[in-house]
Symmetry: C2
């Protein structure tokens, strides 16, 4: 017996009972699909995960990439796994048939990809970024650019990156200085240094397509002077063949605590004659394009964080059932048989907390995938707009709740295993390390908090906020007819009240242009909002469970599954939501303790 | 410029302004000492830390011990550092002159040793365990055993271990099965397997003295049948020279996420003729002896966790002052110069939280060291008893608060550095990994919680609890005369009220023999109690700061230091203590959500 990567029953619950993925097949885009084809996609991803990712997971972690001054070397096993995914078409699972895709609904493709993340988040990183890069070009490139690059990215022949940060400019992209110089043929030459470029060099694909932010000579300072370029590692000849090396060079690798199979690179553009690059879209509009992309990348980060939490939980659960240790406090007989770890109340608490965090986070990310889809393919234009508004507003939460509470779930998984969890005999310590990157990349938690409170809350007359609160209140009404949801419904109502109170206080402060003070505790507001939203996701799961429990002929296993959902929902309501009162009080007081801490006082 | 290991000013504040270490020189034991000799001990430890530990810290982490099937190999640098500490006499800094010690007060020696932990917690682990082993033998061995082993342990010639866990028995020591067979010469032969033995094999010392728990043939089951043995790696000949190899063998190394220079071993005792061992004290009394020792080991774990938090905080603080990034939210001019990280409110919050956790935890551990000392050397017998009772009661808290919140401080240190903090270019990711062991070893957080709520709270008619609450209330009275402490005093009073409420509810449940339910949420009670106690430590620091601020002729730097203490105290009062209300409510409700989660429902 080994631990399952993910619970298939649980994924089916989200797809078919909570988010009604089968209904999507009535949309023209998905008319070829049905539950069988959705299940087949899950089977395929699971098989690749188990056959190609899981066997090398530990080896990848223990043998990080090396740079010999010329080339980066990865253990060859990664290439085999990379190719298996590409061959199965999973890089483009949700893309158009015309681009080599399977045209799966995002909620299904995201569920399938979760198996790859669970079995090797590091190895899957190359594909995830390639897919994001392809989507960026598809959305903002011209026809020729799309035709040249996108299909070869979608097939995995080429890989893609995002080159944003520079040595002096990480979170503050307005300060980037990489220079772009226009050439007589309409192309550009890039000169500058980029850091933290994941997959910036590797030996997996025949070419690497960098999406680079740079300033065209003479552009205005700050964000309004940033443009987006395609800059490939190898230039293509007229027939589209990979030909000569472009002037972009690896200068070093970062040695990371986790995600160790995914190269994190420092690149120099234009050390010699300048790196040949092609402008995407309009000059000086690059950051906007990148952010369009970044929002999807942020949902993807949330999904990775939630998946690592989920697979760590499944592992700890398996271990807690297998391993015996000690007796219950009420039993003083040393001759009685030891009980399973899971029989200890505190171990159950740690498992239940993991379930509440991980499944709450995972359902939120699937909901976001569903919104991505609805914003594009819902037949009703009002629904499309609603989905767009809600997704846009929720993005910092979808990125942050899983990134902050996913690692906590992994922390608890280690604690369930005890000393064993601290060693590499079990994968939970690796998940803990891997997941720690998620609150940092694609905008730190602090940046997400400023995005939510400093931008999304108040823009468009608070439309996003109103949309979101309205959606939660509608769920409350739906839940109110079930007695077994009453307690959670009230807990969520109370938390929502705390959220509204805090929102009012902060909006007042913002209106009075008390900006720095209003934004000083933005991460607390983000945390408060995240808990309310995940409470909502739990109530939604609870409603699906209660409805199912009404059904006749439920077997014991099925009944136990739904009871577990209700118990985890109540755990979230009883153990997590009450904290929102404390956070709200703090926000309403416009606490200035950190802001007023003079640097000299430290 | 590099980051300081620890703030010397801060350590002097604890020693000379909060815990009044100079007053100890009036005790006979410390009559040779004065502030100069205390400072000299700090200087000595800091110098060894900087000269011998810091330069190899990263190398030790990246080159963990290897086992070739015969021997374990460590990088040779560790031996040089090990010997430097031994030669300086720092293993026995607080021990009697007659044992080669410096007879320093524990509060001073603990402060000095903190420099070694900060510069290389892993390398210092060998000494820390050796010192604990020596104290165990000194307390419970016979005269000959003490004479044979203790001086050679205190000098570092030999090293010591604690061999408790077995493959099937980690937290549940009552289930150990290692067998001891009496020989005609009065010695024993041991047969069994032990795991997680830190320093169980190495190449640093000429011998290794294992303190082993085992059962004498025919002993009763469970805890009442456990005895304690000395079992050296090499037996001594009649002249005391290290001679033939004993039958104890390394079978493997554990590969840990952190603390990677400190070997964690699996040992076999008695694969062949049986491992020669010597009974310590009385048969069947071993666990009691070990626990006497374990309490000191638990204070030591708290100290290591607090020190890692403190040094990570100092590093993040240094980085946040050096590194510039972005602008304040109210400044929209991209041409203005970027500000230092520390100028961002959220970075200040993350630094202040680290300061509140780390300095709160560190002061608590020094207070515990002071209690260890008072229980032995206070001239007043009532005070000795009081110190003993309070230390005994506080031990699970002294172990747990630093172990749980120290890693959170390290987590925040990573976040302050951002992507850079996730790489090995900076030591904060290593500290995060190293510190993660502390909530596990020497009794997990769950075990500490059962110790507090299931044993220490109610034993001796709640004497420990009453002593502790009384001490906190006396501090409140002392603080009440200062206006600038008023808010914190009230916050602590309110938290103390929540603690009393929860205590009453839980004691009722225990009295009604509702044991499993009462103990089900024990870690929440431990967390609640820990926050109240650390709030107390902050009020005590605040009082010292306020008193100092009354002084004439304070220079700006000094004033800033004390203002920082008050701000961190208020941060703890405003951001941390209010959570105690939520935890108390949960405990008062005797919540059964985790307890009633059927394993089949997961």
């Amino acid at each position: 017996m080994t631990a399952p990567l993910l619970s298939r029953r649980d994924i089916e619950f989200y797809l078919y009972e909570v988010f009604q993925a089968e209904d999507l097949t009535s949309r023209a885009r998905y008319s070829d699909h049905n539950r069988e084809s959705f299940d087949a996609a899950l089977d395929l991803a699971e098989k690749i995960a188990v056959d190609h990712f899981l066997p090398i997971r530990k080896k990848v972690d223990r043998n990080p990439p090396e740079f010999d001054g010329e080339r980066v070397r990865l253990i060859p096993d990664i290439k085999a796994a990379y190719e298996a995914v590409a061959e199965a078409g999973l890089i483009a699972a949700d893309q158009d048939y015309s681009m080599g895709g399977m045209q799966l609904p995002p909620v299904v493709s995201a569920s399938a990809t979760a198996y790859l993340t669970a079995a090797g988040s590091t190895t899957n990183g190359y594909h995830a970024l390639t897919a994001a890069n392809a989507s960026l070009l598809e959305a903002h490139g011209d026809e020729e650019q799309i035709a040249t690059w996108v299909p070869r990215l979608r097939s995995g022949e080429f890989a893609g990156t995002m080159a944003l940060s520079e040595p002096h400019a990480g979170s503050s992209l307005s300060d980037i200085t990489t220079k772009a110089v226009l050439q007589s043929d309409g192309s550009y030459r890039l000169y500058g240094s980029k850091i933290w470029i994941s997959g910036g060099d590797q030996e997996l694909s025949s070419n690497i397509v960098h999406a680079v932010l740079a300033r065209i000579e003479g552009a205005p300072p700050g964000v309004p002077g940033i443009s987006l370029f395609i800059c490939p590692k190898f230039l293509l000849d007229e027939s589209g063949q990979v030909s000569r090396r472009n002037d972009v060079h690896l200068t070093g690798l970062f040695h990371k605590m986790g995600g160790r199979g995914h190269t994190s690179t420092a690149l120099n553009f234009g050390e010699r004659e300048g790196a040949v690059a092609f402008l995407v879209g309009q000059p000086n509009a690059g950051l906007g394009y990148m952010f369009h992309m970044m929002n999807e990348a942020r949902v993807m980060v949330g999904m990775m964080a939630a998946t690592l939490a989920l697979t760590g939980f499944q592992y700890a659960l398996w271990y807690a059932r297998e391993r015996t240790q000690g007796r219950l406090p009420s039993n003083k007989n040393p001759l009685s048989a030891p009980v399973a770890l899971i029989d200890h109340a505190d171990v159950r608490r740690m498992l239940l907390a993991q379930k509440a965090y991980a499944e709450g986070a995972f359902s939120l990310c699937l909901f976001a995938s569903q919104l991505v889809d609805d914003a594009r393919t819902h037949p009703d234009s009002e629904q499309r707009e609603w989905a767009h508004d809600l997704l846009d507003f929720l993005t910092p939460i979808v990125k942050t709740f899983p990134s902050e509470f996913g690692p906590r779930a992994n922390d608890l998984a280690i604690q369930v295993l005890g000393g064993a969890g601290y060693t590499d005999e079990h994968p939970v310590e690796m998940m803990y390390r891997d997941n720690r990157l998620n609150p940092i990349h694609e905008g730190t938690t602090g940046i997400q908090a400023l995005d939510l409170l400093g931008r999304k809350l108040t823009e468009k007359k608070m439309r996003g906020y109103i949309t979101c609160v309205g959606a939660m209140e509608r769920e409350q009404i739906k839940a109110s007819k079930w007695e077994s949801l009453l307690e959670m419904d009230m807990a969520l109502g109370s938390a929502l009240g705390h959220l509204k109170r805090a929102t009012e206080a902060l909006v007042s402060a913002l209106n009075e242009e008390n900006t720095d003070l209003a934004l000083a505790n933005a991460p607390v507001y983000l945390q408060l909002f995240g808990h309310v939203v995940v409470g909502w996701m739990w109530l939604r799961q609870g409603r699906a469970a209660v409805e199912a429990l009404q059904g006749a002929d439920l077997d014991q296993t099925e009944e136990a599954f739904y009871r577990g959902k209700l118990q985890a929902m109540n755990y979230f309501g009883r153990w997590e939501l009450p904290q929102t009162a404390v956070w709200s009080d703090l926000l309403c007081s416009l606490d200035a303790t950190p802001l007023e801490m003079d640097p000299d006082w430290f």
